[in-house]
């Protein structure tokens, strides 16, 4: 693929994503005999100490490794709409770095720290649907000579064209305890905090889109969720799994997995229990073909079906994985994070192989990109 072809393809994809609500589905059969101008699917992740990896899951081989200056952490990734630029939360959660996946070129860098303020982001990154804005939320502390002062978190809006010392175009106060973020096609930002917030990044106005901690569900405990992984690009949704007790403390106490979800194409929100809570899941994605089927990962890989409220299938894994994703056609499941190998399964959990990497992925996101 030469660079002019890449640009061309890139434009086509941009157009597609801007106008079509549905994600592009790669036909696996066609991909097999991929010719020069075929869109291919890649896995993108960060590996210790500081490499961004682009991996061909079909060939099960590494296509490109990009050194990213700075220390590892968190490795949270978001992709530009053309899926060619990966924005990574890096340098001990203090910098956002944009890397062109086709060339390894560093195209963007911003830090929330400076002027005696240490700013870290806990996985809060999002890119606007047109690719022109990058959003992050910085948890900030002023480091005084003899004491620290925790400041209000800040939502920072960056111009993705601002280069390698990007300063925010605007900042707004943000709620505490926000982790992952998603940018919807209507321009709103969704934040996973105590509740799922909807924020207008033009003016910082914030409202509760889905009540979680503050929900009014008398027979349910407040939900608990660990949302550190920024997937959802395949189904074009912003998803946060949670665990909850129904009738807590009573005889008929029952524990469930549930989800809060925003459809990034339509802005539609939903919140519901999907299956019994029998084991821990670190991250979850839905099946792009049937979005009420969910895959979860930690020490097990599981398939949960919200329609029947059942755990459809579970297998034990050889070690823990933190980050789960699927191919755009839903036929393959990718597991990453934690240690140093990516596992690939089919949708019936048949083992399709491992891709070994030289370092741990730790908290990094496992993203799926096509170009």
């Amino acid at each position: 693929m030469n660079s002019s072809e890449i640009k061309l393809l890139n434009l086509t994809l941009m157009g597609l994503l801007a106008f079509a609500a549905q994600p592009l589905v790669v036909n696996a059969a066609v991909a097999d005999e991929a010719s020069a101008d075929e869109v291919r699917e890649y896995l993108v992740t960060m590996v210790r100490p500081n490499q961004l990896y682009v991996i061909d899951p079909e060939a099960q081989e590494v296509v490109r490794t990009c050194d990213v200056e700075g220390a590892f952490g968190s490795g949270t990734l978001q992709l530009s709409p053309d899926e060619r630029i990966a924005y990574v939360l890096h340098n001990r959660w203090e910098d956002v770095v944009g890397i062109d996946l086709t060339s390894c070129e560093e195209v963007f860098r911003a830090s929330g720290s400076g002027n005696s303020i240490r700013a870290k982001s806990i996985a809060s990154l999002a890119v606007s649907p047109d690719g022109s804005r990058l959003y992050s939320i910085w948890d900030r502390a002023r480091l005084g000579l003899d004491h620290y002062e925790v400041l209000e978190p800040q939502l920072a809006v960056y111009d993705t064209a601002a280069g390698l010392a990007a300063e925010p175009l605007a900042t707004f106060p943000a709620p505490r305890q926000v982790t992952t973020m998603g940018a919807a096609e209507d321009g709103n930002l969704y934040l996973a905090g105590a509740d799922i917030y909807r924020v207008d990044p033009e003016n910082g106005e914030t409202e509760i889109a889905i009540a979680n901690r503050n929900w009014d569900r008398p027979s349910f405990s407040p939900p608990d969720s660990l949302a550190m992984w920024s997937m959802g690009e395949v189904a074009n949704e912003f998803l946060r799994p949670y665990t909850v007790a129904e009738h807590p403390g009573e005889k008929n106490e029952a524990w469930h997995w549930g989800i809060s979800r925003v459809d990034l194409a339509t802005g539609e929100t939903e919140n519901k229990e999907i299956a019994p809570f029998e084991f821990i899941i670190f991250s979850m994605v839905s099946d792009p073909r049937e979005r009420d089927v969910f895959y979860g990962v930690y020490t097990q890989l599981s398939k949960l079906d919200a329609r029947t409220q059942e755990i459809v299938k579970v297998i034990d894994l050889d070690h823990t994985y933190y980050s789960v994703n699927t191919s755009y056609d839903g036929s393959r499941i990718y597991l990453g994070g934690a240690s140093s190998d990516i596992a690939i399964y089919d949708d019936d959990f048949n083992d399709l192989g491992r891709i070994r990497l030289p370092g741990d992925m730790s908290t990094a996101t496992l993203k799926v990109a096509r170009f």
Binding site: I122, A141, T179, R213, L226, D318
Partner: protein, 520 residues
């Protein structure tokens, strides 16, 4: 026991000059090493932040260690020692203020904490003990700054389990900090009066006793001499186990805040630490292995000289009917007079006798009446020090929950150390028999532990001593997921000859701790 004083009066008291304050090695070292960041303030020897807190010597040492690791402070070892000494002496805790947390200072970690606040446990006692903060005194602003430090330094604090379900930062600032400021204020009468109290030197001759895990009861004469350095002492110990096996050793100690005795000892070749509270008439505390803190013994100490004659301790605390054994009585004024140990007990031989100690060979008859044995040594009587029994009514294993840690060369294992105390349950009184002979065994705690064969992998419990030695650290290829040799075990003791009399405890065998600060 804090006495309520009008706060106005309290702060007034602190404002009054307490006499000329002399520059010491410690205060000079603070001027030199700390004042670039902690500015000197008006008032004698006062620096920002530093002078607004009080804590134990360990607490000060940990703060200073943090200045080194997090804020780039470079500090010679000697200056660190001088500063800790100076701060613990001038901004320490009164004995009443540390009393509720002696277990934490003594590294008795197998215990369940409880607090007088509904959310303190979840808010502040899940990463370290809640006792860590209970061993500090600060005004509200300083408690608030501590909260700012936590969130500013460890950003994930408010995202972790038991924090992400609540407005952690807000609750810490607005509920915990005011509560701590109220219950643990910087200024109070206990500290005021302790600073005024006359300090006594531990120099002299003492007698010390305790129970060495796996070896048995012991006693020793302790000689304490002053050593070079402020409040520094050297000590030597010379004693024996009740079995007759000798016990000896020596060490160095420093006394902080007028009563916090900290020593490094070598006893029968083993390096140990000693923590004593010297503030009472009978100093007490614990001797333990710094790397394996479960391995330790509670000790008590009394001076050789005493105004009153008394028997203070009996090793062991009970005699079994039909058995001949060694009995050691410790106290004052034991050198003369007839020895009677109550009905059914015959003294076969006096092995050693001095004013402070009697070592006897005794025999308890088969038909001894179970219960207290009234003893009489000359003029001294002790009605409730030694008990006789035929069978044990009840057994109690402690701790009820133990945590052992697998280890290797770099992070030594932490043992599980259990003891079993017997009791006679009388109609109107429970009589403690002390440690009675038991057999120890281990089994899976639950179904999961059984399935994972935890008993096989996690380590070995010595059937005679109740000491559990954990397995080596690292992935175990024999286990599923190459799991570490961790486990969840049930430890059972049963009385020798009375198998039905049992008690049990839970033993969690877990991975190493990488960070082992003196106050957990």
């Amino acid at each position: 026991m804090r006495h309520a004083l009008p706060t106005g009066l309290c702060s007034l008291a602190l404002l009054l000059p307490t006499g000329a304050v002399l520059a010491s090695a410690g205060s000079e070292a603070i001027d030199r090493h700390c004042s670039a960041c902690h500015q000197a303030q008006s008032g004698p020897q006062s620096w920002s932040r530093i002078s607004a807190q009080r804590k134990t010597p360990e607490g000060w040492d940990m703060t200073i260690a943090r200045m080194q690791t997090m804020h780039g402070l470079e500090l010679p070892q000697e200056a660190r020692r001088d500063i800790v000494k100076f701060l613990a002496d001038t901004r320490g805790l009164a004995p009443e203020e540390s009393a509720s947390q002696r277990e934490l200072i003594e590294r008795r970690l197998n215990r369940i904490e409880s607090f007088d606040h509904p959310s303190y446990q979840e808010m502040c006692a899940r990463c370290h003990t809640g006792g860590r903060a209970q061993l500090q005194r600060r005004p509200q602003e300083e408690w608030e700054r501590l909260v700012h430090f936590h969130v500013g330094q460890f950003q994930t604090t408010e995202y972790q389990s038991m924090a992400r379900d609540r407005d952690w930062f807000d609750l810490a600032l607005n509920e915990i900090a005011p509560w701590l400021a109220e219950s643990q204020s910087l200024e109070n009468e206990a500290w005021e009066s302790w600073q005024q109290a006359e300090q006594t030197s531990p120099e002299g001759d003492w007698q010390l006793w305790g129970h060495w895990p796996g070896e048995g009861d012991f006693y020793a004469d302790v000689t304490i001499n002053t050593d070079e350095g402020e409040d520094a002492y050297s000590l030597s110990l010379d004693g024996a186990f009740t079995s007759g096996r000798p016990l000896s050793g020596e060490g160095q100690a420093i006394v902080y805040t007028g009563y916090e005795w900290r020593a490094n000892l070598n006893l029968n070749g083993r390096d140990l630490k000693q923590v004593l509270d010297l503030s009472g008439a009978h100093p007490s505390g614990r001797i333990f292995d710094d790397h394996d803190d479960a391995f330790g013994m509670m000790v008590e100490m009394v001076p050789h000289e005493a105004a009153e004659s008394a028997v203070l301790a009996s090793l062991p605390a009970s005699l079994k009917a039909g058995e001949r054994s060694r009995l050691v009585l410790l106290g004052h004024g034991l050198g003369e007079g007839e020895i009677s140990l109550g009905e059914g007990v015959t003294v076969r031989k006096v092995i050693e006798r001095s004013d402070m100690r009697l070592v006897l060979d005794v025999e308890a008859s088969n038909d001894l009446t179970p219960g207290w044995l009234a003893m009489q040594i000359g003029e001294i009587s002790a009605e409730r020090l030694l008990a006789g029994y035929r069978t044990v009514d009840r057994l109690e294993v402690s701790p009820t929950l133990g945590v052992a840690r697998i280890g290797n060369d770099k992070t030594p294992p932490v043992s599980g150390v259990f003891t079993a105390a017997g009791y006679l349950d009388g109609a109107d009184e429970t009589i403690p028999l002390g440690q009675v002979p038991v057999r120890w065994s281990v089994s899976p705690w639950d179904k999961i532990a059984e399935r994972d064969e935890d008993v096989r992998f996690a380590g070995i419990l010595d059937a005679a001593t109740g000491i559990f030695s954990p397995a080596g650290a690292g992935p175990n290829p024999l286990r599923q997921y190459n799991a570490n040799s961790v486990g969840n075990l049930r430890v059972t003791a049963s009385v020798v000859g009375q198998e039905a009399i049992q008690d049990e405890a839970q033993l969690i065998v877990t991975v190493q701790r990488w960070n082992n600060p003196p106050l957990r």
